[in-house]
């Protein structure tokens, strides 16, 4: 009676709240991620206003921050740093780690490998609820009297360790550390689950080299997370000790607030090493899923096999491996041994090679395709462009000799926002447009998708591209205003322009939000396989059922990328279609 399975009435609490169904957990991550993204984006718009019109009051700033943090509508320097810090934290961890991986690993891993659910539905549920707890704690830190953490998203001690150093290092910092600790627990539970699921629960015929690149990317992301997040956990724990129990892991020889602190023998550089041991793999935890989504969306909508599947897998493996031995490039000017700096430059520049391979493969995939320019593909083409733009400036910043002068300037801000922020956000949008029918059984409005895409893409480069120019003039990041230096006055106009784009980009996300929530309830009903895609998720019923497939699990006979294959009338061949007599799999064709 498998047909009745879907109609089985489940109590609200286990269906929508404490659900163990990966599809529901995926939606929970997505919605939480979206809400946090709105918070993080509005914060950015607010501090951009201060940068464009330093010291000018705005009613809207006062509306959001109140008289305490924005007297007369001017953000206080404390709150400015708080906004910068929490914006970074939210975007890096909440949106682009949990929001991105949490949504798409949960949705796509079981559906694309042909599994009924995650290996452990219970741990998967816990993963979300730890994340939820982290979210509550982080948000609550916005309302404490001394303000939220404000030492930058990297929260380097001693600034973050000493409440005397900055008001945000009081209770706000405790809550930040608590939030990040819960976050890490959630990320680990999720990550372990994803790994085990991919390794053990692939359906019959789904060999590793038949996996869609999304699954490869999400698997490698999970492995990176499981290996690196515990190191951040240790770093956070030691920082909690230094703050609360008087230890001196990161502190030494400090005189502050009129007294010499007794702690000696520690080193803040230790924290930086631990932080970036996560922090660098973290940027690949963000970008790999984005590349995975883009690979799938570009191939499906170009109606072409992904070019060089094996090269794509190998380059992702190379990126993942290298990402563990490059963290020192964030620390070239901390006084590290110059030889060590040289090693980190070497390893970092090596990453350019697999990254270049990926870009070339995307271009080859689009070349001579029959491009279905859906909003999803539009976003992914844009994503390849930001990956190129930001990746190329990475070559400059990886060079330690050049980093001496560019470190912590707006050039860095431009670089990482474009290569990691924009790329991941654009691919995530692409992913949402593409898999929305799978998530909610309805289609998003396409026209509004285009409007959203073009406004977003224009504003995205409008905000970040000019920042390269500001950085090359030596303007440092995290400055409350640039008015203290006459040499920075040349960029007043440009800063205003950037802020206009930032506000425009923020408003244009309203289009997405309306489209998203409207389509969720009123969108056109989705057909079984709206994009004529080969992968298994489109063989499941449109209405979600527990266990994903009625009856037996599908069996896989071929790789995921048989698009426009010679010998077939249709321009796609589902993975469940058996190979014909003499037909070769994996992009090999008989006549080659």
């Amino acid at each position: 009676m498998s047909d009745n399975h879907g109609h089985h009435k489940e109590p609200f609490i286990t269906k929508y709240v404490f659900s163990q169904d990966h599809k529901m957990i995926s939606k929970q991550f997505l919605i939480t991620g979206i809400i946090m993204a709105v918070v993080g984006t509005v914060m950015a718009a607010l501090f951009r206003m201060q940068l464009a019109w330093p010291g000018e009051g705005f009613a809207i700033v006062n509306f959001f921050l109140g008289d305490k943090w924005a007297p007369g509508g001017v953000i206080s320097p404390d709150m400015y740093l708080g906004l910068v810090t929490i914006h970074g934290t939210i975007m890096v961890f909440w949106l682009l780690t949990a929001g991105l991986s949490g949504t798409f690993a949960n949705l796509l891993i079981p559906l694309q490998i042909g599994a009924r659910d995650m290996a452990s539905g219970f741990l998967n549920m816990l993963s979300y609820w730890f994340f939820f707890l982290a979210t509550i704690v982080l948000c609550s830190s916005l309302f404490v009297a001394s303000g939220p953490a404000s030492g930058g998203w990297t929260v380097y001690p001693p600034l973050s360790a000493l409440p005397q150093a900055i008001p945000g290092s009081g209770l706000g910092m405790d809550l930040w550390l608590g939030a990040i600790s819960f976050f890490i627990v959630g990320a680990l539970l999720g990550g372990l689950n994803y790994i085990v699921t991919v390794i053990n629960l692939r359906t019959k015929g789904m060999t590793m080299m038949r996996l869609p690149l999304t699954v490869w990317a999400l698997l490698l992301t999970a492995i990176l997370g499981v290996l690196s997040f515990p190191v951040l956990f240790a770093a956070a724990l030691l920082l909690i000790f230094d703050r609360t129990f008087g230890t001196a892991f990161y502190l030494s020889d400090i005189y502050i607030g009129g007294e010499a602190i007794s702690a000696t023998g520690g080193s803040p550089i230790l924290y930086e090493h631990l932080f970036w041991f996560l922090g660098h793999p973290e940027v690949y935890i963000i970008i790999l899923p984005a590349l995975g989504l883009a690979s799938e969306i570009i191939s499906v909508n170009s109606r072409k096999p992904i070019f060089g599947y094996r090269a794509m897998v190998v380059s992702m493996l190379a990126i993942a491996g290298l990402s563990f031995i490059v963290w020192g490039h964030h620390m070239f000017i901390t006084g590290m041994n110059p030889f060590v700096g040289a090693v980190f430059t070497f390893t970092t520049l090596l990453i350019a090679i697999p990254s270049a391979v990926k870009v070339f493969n995307y271009l080859f995939t689009l070349w001579k395709g029959n491009l279905m320019l859906t909003p999803a593909l539009m976003f992914c083409i844009a994503m390849v462009s930001t990956f190129i733009t930001g990746g190329l400036t990475g070559i400059i910043l990886a060079d330690n000799a050049l980093d001496i002068n560019l470190h912590d300037t707006y050039f860095v801000v431009a670089h990482f926002h474009i290569v990691m922020g924009l790329s991941a956000v654009l691919a995530m949008f692409g992913g949402v447009y593409h898999w929305f029918p799978k998530l909610y059984g309805r289609m998003m409005n396409k026209t509004w998708g285009y409007v959203h895409f073009w406004t977003t893409f224009i504003c995205a480069y409008g905000v970040f591209f000019p920042q390269h120019f500001i950085g090359l003039a030596g303007v440092p990041r995290r400055y409350y205003s640039n008015t203290a230096f006459p040499m920075f006055d040349d960029f007043v106009d440009l800063n205003i322009l950037i802020t206009f784009f930032a506000i425009g980009g923020t408003l244009s996300q309203g289009i997405f939000l309306i489209n998203f929530f409207y389509s969720m309830f009123k969108g056109e009903k989705a057909p079984q396989n709206p994009w004529k895609s080969n992968t298994l998720e489109w063989t499941t019923p449109v209405e979600h059922v527990h266990g994903n497939w009625h009856g037996a699990l599908p069996e896989v006979h071929r790789w995921a990328y048989d698009y426009s294959k010679p010998g077939y009338d249709e321009d796609f061949v589902m993975q469940t279609t058996p190979l014909k007599e003499g037909e070769l799999d994996g992009g090999k064709s008989a006549d080659h």
């Binding site: 600034l159 400090i254 090269a311 190129i388 000799a401 001496i404 509004w448 003039a473």
Partner: protein, 347 residues
């Protein structure tokens, strides 16, 4: 009131866009382009392809506009020997990445109009091409090898030992100002201990250390002789700061609990630089480039580079630590040696 008007205007704009979009969709359906069996109609593909081309033109146009209008504000020519080398390397890097950037972005923004969906066309079955893949792996590898070797050579030169006659200066950072300390007559910087900080002794110098007495401490502005190596030591009082001297392409973090180092040779005087930039107000600056607290954005010091004679005269005119009498408070309390003060602090 004006906010209300803005709000109403915004709503009207949104309403107009909504209506235009509706009409557009209806027209598509009437034209038969909105049929349900394809996910994107031909006109939709065409228009978005055209928009991508326009976007590409605007994108490169904006790049050119930014370059024409704002590259004049880039940091002027480096005022240090190693800075010249850094700029050469940077120029090469920019040339290289701009070539790749323009070619790949142009292809990317051209493909949508060239290859957008057309009825009855089939995409090319092209899953791989090992030769192309090999070439496209080897080219970046060679480019990277070249950049790595050149970069590391530059880096090693920058971090080599300073010349024998280098002038020793300590840059001391605290929330939110800088102090520069010169080694003085003996060419050696005196010892310090953070527990001795207090009163006028802001750097925690040891009262009984002979090397300390002739040191010279200055705030707000410090001077350097041109064409002579400067051996900087950096310290911090409480949090991490970063001593950034952009015109010299020099930067090093100031980390509490340790001393970091950087050395360079300034090769242009302030006067020369004013001529080069055409700005009579030009000054070299030191600024903080690591988030350090609420006034991080205004933690600066002026740097004057001048001839050796002018520099000597300036330094001669500054008071030494002894002359400043920064240990007076400690001595009044009968604490004349560093050890005594330390003991008092521990008690």
């Amino acid at each position: 009131m004006i906010e209300l008007l803005y709000f109403i205007a915004l709503i009207l704009v949104v309403a107009v866009v909504v209506q235009v979009a509706r009409v557009y969709e209806l027209v598509l359906v009437l034209k038969g382009g909105g049929s349900r069996d394809v996910v994107v109609s031909e006109p939709e593909g065409k228009w978005n392809g055209i928009l991508y081309v326009l976007y590409g033109l605007a994108f490169f146009g904006a790049y050119a506009w930014l370059y024409l209008n704002y590259s004049q504000f880039f940091l002027p020519v480096a005022a240090s020997e190693h800075g010249i080398e850094i700029d050469k390397l940077l120029d090469f890097n920019f040339a290289m990445i701009n070539i790749v950037f323009v070619i790949t972005i142009m292809m990317l923004f051209y493909f949508p109009i060239k290859y957008h969906y057309r009825k009855g066309r089939k995409a090319l079955w092209y899953p791989n091409n090992h030769k192309a893949e090999l070439i496209l792996t080897i080219i970046p590898t060679i480019a990277m090898a070249f950049v790595i070797v050149w970069g590391l050579k530059t880096w090693n030169n920058i971090f080599s030992e300073p010349a024998e006659n280098a002038i020793k200066i300590e840059l001391y950072a605290r929330q939110f100002d800088w102090t520069a300390r010169y080694a003085g007559q003996d060419g050696r910087l005196g010892d310090f201990n953070y527990r001795l900080i207090g009163g006028m002794n802001a750097l925690g110098l040891k009262p009984d250390d002979a090397k300390v007495q002739d040191d010279v401490m200055v705030k707000a502005e410090f001077h350097l002789p041109v064409n002579r190596a400067v051996d900087f030591a950096f310290r911090s009082q409480e949090v991490i700061h970063s001593a950034y001297m952009p015109h010299f392409r020099a930067q090093m973090n100031c980390v509490p609990g340790m001393t970091t180092r950087f050395n360079f040779v300034p090769n242009k005087t302030t006067a020369e630089m004013r001529e080069i930039t055409g700005d009579p107000e030009f000054n070299f600056i030191l600024l903080c480039n690591k988030i350090c607290g609420v006034a991080h954005y205004n933690m600066q010091m002026k740097i004057i580079v001048e001839s050796q004679e002018d520099f000597d005269a300036w330094l001669e005119g500054q008071q030494t630590v002894q002359e400043q009498g920064i240990f007076a408070e400690a001595q009044a309390d009968g604490k004349t040696s560093g050890e005594q003060v330390l003991l008092a602090a521990v008690k």
